[in-house]
C-alpha cells in the first residue's frame, strides 16, 4: 500500500509553500481585496515562472508533463496562502476543458498559451439565483452564434476566453468564446470575496468554437467538474489547515483569566473538532487525487467526497478561527476574514454543498445498481 504522495511530490509541495510564503501571498490577497486590481499580476507572473500553470499539460503542448498529483499539492499550497490569482479558473477548469474535450486544433492553439500563462481562461455556467441544470440554462447556440448572459464568472473580467455552457436544440453544449471579440460585454460584479474578481458576461450573437459535441455536452461537463472538484478540494484543504493553525497560534499566545486560553477545554475541543474535520478532508482529498491521476471509474464518487469533505472542513475551520480570536477575529486588521471570505468563494465556485452531496449519493446509486 502506498497511499501517500511521493518524496518528489512532497518536495514540490514544500517548494510551493516556501515560494508563496516568501512572496507573502496572504498579504497580496489583502491588497487585492482592498484595492482596485482584479488580481495580483506580479504574483501571477511569478507563479507562471515557477511553472505551476504548465504542471499537468503534456510536453507536446509545451507543458511540463507532470501529473495531477503534482497539481494537487500545488493547489493545497495556493489554498493555504489564498493566492489572489486566476489559477483555479484557468488551470483547473479552462485547461481541463480543452485538454480533455478539445479538438487537436484547439489544443495546439490554446494549451501552449495556457501553459505559459500568456492566456487566462475561465468557465461561465451560472445564470441566476439557482444551480444550473439541463433544463434551466437559457444561454443558447443557434445559427452559429451564442446569445445569453452568465453571472458570477470568476475571473470573467480578466480572462481572455471562457468556456460557456449553452443549450443547442435539446442538448447542453460547451463553447469556447473569445472574450475580446465582438458581441461580448463584460461587467465586473462585486462579491463577498473581492480578493478574487468576478464578472457578468453578456453574449449577443457572439462567435464561438465548439468543445466536444453537444449530444454529450452535459456528461462532458460533469466529467470536467468532477476533475476540477478534486483540485478545488485541495485548495479548500489548504485553507482549512491554515485557518486551524491560525486559531491555534492565536490561542497559545492569548492570556485571559491568568492563563493561556489554549489551556481551556472549550478552546482545545474546538481545535480538536477542526483537526478531525481537516484529517477527514485530507484523507478524502488523497482518494480524490488518486482517482483524478488514474482517471479511475470511481472519480465521480471520489471527487464529490473530497469536495463535500473539504468544503465542510474549510467552513468549520474558517468560522471557528474567527470565534477563537474573539473580537479581534471580527476586525478588518486581522487575516481571519480573508479566509472566511475565500472559504465562501471556493464553496460557491463550482456548485454548493447540496449539489455535491446529491451528486455523491447519485454516483453511489449508479455504482450500486442491482
Amino acid at each position: 500500500m502506498n497511499f501517500e504522495f511521493s518524496a518528489d511530490q512532497m518536495q514540490l509541495k514544500d517548494i510551493a509553500r516556501k515560494f508563496l510564503e516568501k512572496e507573502d501571498a496572504v498579504k497580496r490577497a489583502r491588497t487585492v481585496l482592498e484595492g482596485e486590481a482584479s488580481y495580483d499580476e506580479d504574483l501571477w507572473k511569478l507563479i507562471i515562472e515557477m511553472g505551476f500553470t504548465a504542471t499537468a499539460i503534456p510536453e507536446e503542448y509545451d507543458g511540463l508533463g507532470l501529473g495531477y498529483l503534482e497539481l494537487c499539492v500545488i493547489a493545497e499550497e495556493l489554498g493555504r496562502s489564498i493566492a489572489p490569482t486566476p489559477f483555479s479558473s484557468s488551470v483547473y477548469l479552462a485547461t481541463e476543458f480543452i485538454l480533455k474535450l478539445g479538438s487537436d486544433e484547439l489544443k495546439q492553439k490554446y494549451l501552449p498559451k495556457l501553459a505559459s500563462g500568456s492566456m487566462i481562461g475561465t468557465f461561465a455556467h451560472t445564470e441566476g439565483n439557482t444551480a444550473p441544470t439541463q433544463n434551466n440554462i437559457t444561454c443558447e447556440v443557434k445559427d452559429g452564434v451564442l446569445n445569453g448572459r452568465k453571472i458570477v464568472v470568476t475571473d470573467g473580467d480578466i480572462a481572455d476566453f471562457a468556456i460557456v455552457s449553452a443549450k443547442e436544440g435539446s442538448n447542453i453544449g460547451l463553447y469556447l468564446l473569445d472574450l475580446k471579440s465582438e458581441g461580448v460585454e463584460i461587467k465586473p460584479q462585486i462579491t463577498l470575496d473581492p480578493s478574487r474578481s468576478h464578472a457578468a458576461l453578456s453574449f449577443t450573437n457572439a462567435k464561438f468554437q465548439s468543445i466536444g459535441s453537444a449530444s454529450d455536452g452535459w456528461e462532458n461537463l460533469q466529467y470536467i467538474l468532477n476533475r476540477a472538484a478534486v483540485l478545488f478540494a485541495f485548495e479548500q484543504l489548504g485553507g482549512a489547515e491554515a485557518s486551524m493553525n491560525m486559531a491555534k497560534d492565536y490561542a497559545m499566545g492569548r492570556f485571559a483569566f491568568g492563563r493561556s486560553i489554549a489551556s481551556f477545554q472549550a478552546i482545545k475541543h474546538k481545535l480538536a473538532d477542526m483537526f478531525v474535520a481537516v484529517e477527514l478532508a485530507r484523507s478524502n482529498c488523497y482518494y480524490g487525487a488518486w482517482a483524478l491521476s488514474t482517471d479511475a471509474p470511481e472519480l465521480a464518487t471520489a471527487a464529490a467526497t473530497a469536495r463535500v469533505s473539504a468544503s465542510q472542513a474549510f467552513h468549520e475551520c474558517s468560522k471557528e478561527n474567527i470565534q477563537t480570536h474573539g473580537g479581534m477575529g471580527f476586525t478588518w486588521e486581522f487575516d481571519c476574514h480573508l479566509y472566511y471570505k475565500r472559504c465562501r468563494q471556493l464553496a460557491a465556485n463550482i456548485g454548493s454543498q447540496s449539489i455535491w452531496k446529491n451528486k455523491l449519493i447519485s454516483s453511489l446509486e449508479k455504482a450500486n445498481q442491482l
Binding site: 478552546i267 475541543h269 446509486e365
Partner: protein, 409 residues
C-alpha cells in the same frame, strides 16, 4: 500513489490467506459472523481456535518468538487483520491480556515470570483482565484509591475496581494500587499482577443500559500479593500504567455496527412520505455526510498502513477514528430507527431481523463513546499531543493525594 502490496507484503498475504483457508470457513457475506451460543461456549471455542493459531505460529503476531509470538512487522499485522476478516473465526476474550497485560509483563516481569505466563497467554490457555478504573477514578484514572500495604514480602490490597471487562472469567489480572496516599496523585502508585482466584476477591457483574453485563465491579478485601509480583518500582505505578494505556488507545478502533452501507440500503428500501426514503433530499444530504466520514476514516487508515509499510510510525490521524465512528454510529442508529417510524422503538428481538442492527447500536454506541477514552479525553489528547496545546490547569497538582477532593459530592 497506489493501493498495491510490495512483493514481500503480497507473499505474506498469500501465506496468511492460504493458512486461514485450510483452517477456517470463509464468511458468506458481511453478516455471516461468528457468534457463540453462550459466553461459556464462546470461551471454549476461542481457546480451541487460539491454540490452533499458536501451534501454527499465528498467535500474538507482534510478540517476540520466544514467548510464542511471530515477531511480525506492524504492516504484517495489518495484512493479517485484513485477511482474517474474510473468515468466520471466533474472537474476543483474549485482547486485554495479549494487547495490554502482555506488553507490561514483557517490560517489567522477571525472565522466570515471562516464561511462566506469556506463552500461556499467547496460547489462550489463561485469560487476563485489567484492574485500573475505580468509582472515583474514570477519565482521571490516576486518582485511584485501592490501597496496597507492604508487610514483610507480602502486599495487602483493599478497595474496589470498576468497568473490569471479563473479570468473571479471567485467570490473572494486572492491578494498579495506591501505596502512598500522602504523595501527589501520580506518585505513590504501585503496579502488580495477581491471580484472580486469590482469596478476598469478589466479582460482581454490572448491568448495562442494554440489560447485558460485559464488565464488572471487583472488590478486594485483604487480598495478598507476594512482592515478587510487583511490576516496576514501588511508587512507579503510573509510569507502568501508561504502557498499557498507550496500547489501549491503539487497540480501540472503528466502532462495529451499521455504517453508511446499511443506512444507504435501508433508505433504498424504506418508504417515507409515500416514496422511497432515498428520494428525499434531507435523507440524501444526511447519507452524504456519513459517507464522507466513513470514507475519510477508511483512507486515513490507508495512510496509516502506508506509513507502516514504509517502516514509519503512523501520524496522528489514527487518533480520530473512535471519536468519528462512535458518534456516527449513534447518529446512524437513530436515523435507522426513525425511518421505521413508531415501530423503530421495538426492541431488537421484536424488530424485523435485518433491521435490528439499529436497535443494537442504539445502546452500544452510547457505550462506545465512553469506553477506552471518552470523546472528551480523546479531544484532550488530540489538542495536547497532536496540536501541542497546553494541559488544562489542574487543581490537584503537587497536593498530597489524601487532601484532594474526589468522587461524587
Amino acid at each position: 500513489m497506489d493501493f498495491n502490496d510490495t512483493l514481500e507484503e503480497a507473499s505474506f498475504r498469500k501465506e496468511a490467506y492460504n493458512w486461514l483457508k485450510d483452517n477456517a470457513p470463509l464468511r458468506e457475506g458481511s453478516k455471516d459472523n461468528w457468534k457463540a451460543a453462550s459466553e461459556e461456549e464462546g470461551l471454549k471455542e476461542v481457546k480451541i481456535w487460539q491454540d490452533k493459531l499458536y501451534e501454527s505460529g499465528w498467535a500474538c503476531m507482534h510478540w517476540p518468538k520466544e514467548f510464542g509470538g511471530r515477531a511480525s512487522t506492524p504492516i504484517e499485522r495489518v495484512i493479517w487483520g485484513q485477511e482474517i476478516s474474510k473468515f468466520k473465526v471466533p474472537g474476543g476474550y483474549l485482547e486485554i491480556g495479549q494487547g495490554m497485560a502482555g506488553p507490561v509483563m514483557m517490560m517489567y516481569a522477571t525472565e522466570e515470570q515471562k516464561e511462566r505466563h506469556l506463552p500461556a497467554m499467547a496460547r489462550g490457555e489463561e485469560i487476563w483482565c485489567q484492574l485500573f478504573s475505580e468509582p472515583a477514578a474514570g477519565s482521571d484514572v490516576a486518582g485511584i484509591k485501592t490501597k496496597s500495604v507492604l508487610e514483610g514480602d507480602t502486599w495487602t490490597i483493599n478497595g474496589q475496581k470498576i468497568w473490569t471487562s471479563g473479570a468473571h472469567f479471567s485467570d490473572w489480572g494486572i492491578l494498579v494500587t495506591r501505596s502512598d496516599p500522602s504523595a501527589p496523585k501520580h506518585k505513590g502508585l504501585t503496579f502488580f499482577f495477581l491471580d484472580m482466584k486469590s482469596p478476598g476477591i469478589e466479582v460482581r457483574p454490572i448491568k448495562q443500559i442494554s440489560g447485558g453485563a460485559n464488565f464488572n465491579e471487583v472488590y478486594f478485601t485483604d487480598v495478598k500479593i507476594p512482592d515478587s509480583q510487583r511490576l516496576g518500582a514501588v511508587g512507579d505505578g503510573w509510569k507502568v500504567s501508561l504502557t498499557t494505556l498507550m496500547n489501549e488507545r491503539l487497540a480501540v478502533g472503528d466502532a462495529g455496527g451499521p455504517d453508511f452501507d446499511e443506512a444507504f440500503n435501508l433508505a433504498r428500501g424504506q418508504d417515507l412520505n409515500g416514496s422511497l426514503a432515498i428520494e428525499n433530499g434531507a435523507v440524501r444530504e444526511q447519507l452524504a455526510t456519513w459517507y464522507c466520514q466513513q470514507s475519510g476514516l477508511k483512507y486515513s487508515k490507508y495512510r496509516n498502513i502506508s506509513a507502516l509499510s514504509r517502516g514509519e510510525t503512523p501520524g496522528p490521524q489514527s487518533s480520530i477514528t473512535k471519536i468519528v465512528s462512535a458518534n456516527k454510529l449513534q447518529e446512524i442508529a437513530n436515523y435507522g430507527m426513525d425511518l421505521m417510524d413508531a415501530a423503530g422503538i421495538l426492541r431488537e428481538d421484536e424488530a424485523a431481523a435485518d433491521q435490528s442492527v439499529y436497535q443494537y447500536a442504539f445502546y452500544g454506541s452510547a457505550g462506545l463513546r465512553i469506553a477506552g477514552g471518552t470523546d472528551e479525553i480523546l479531544k484532550n489528547i488530540i489538542s495536547e499531543q497532536v496540536l501541542g496545546m497546553p494541559q488544562d490547569m489542574r487543581a490537584d497538582k503537587g497536593i498530597p493525594f489524601n487532601e484532594i477532593p474526589s468522587g461524587n459530592k
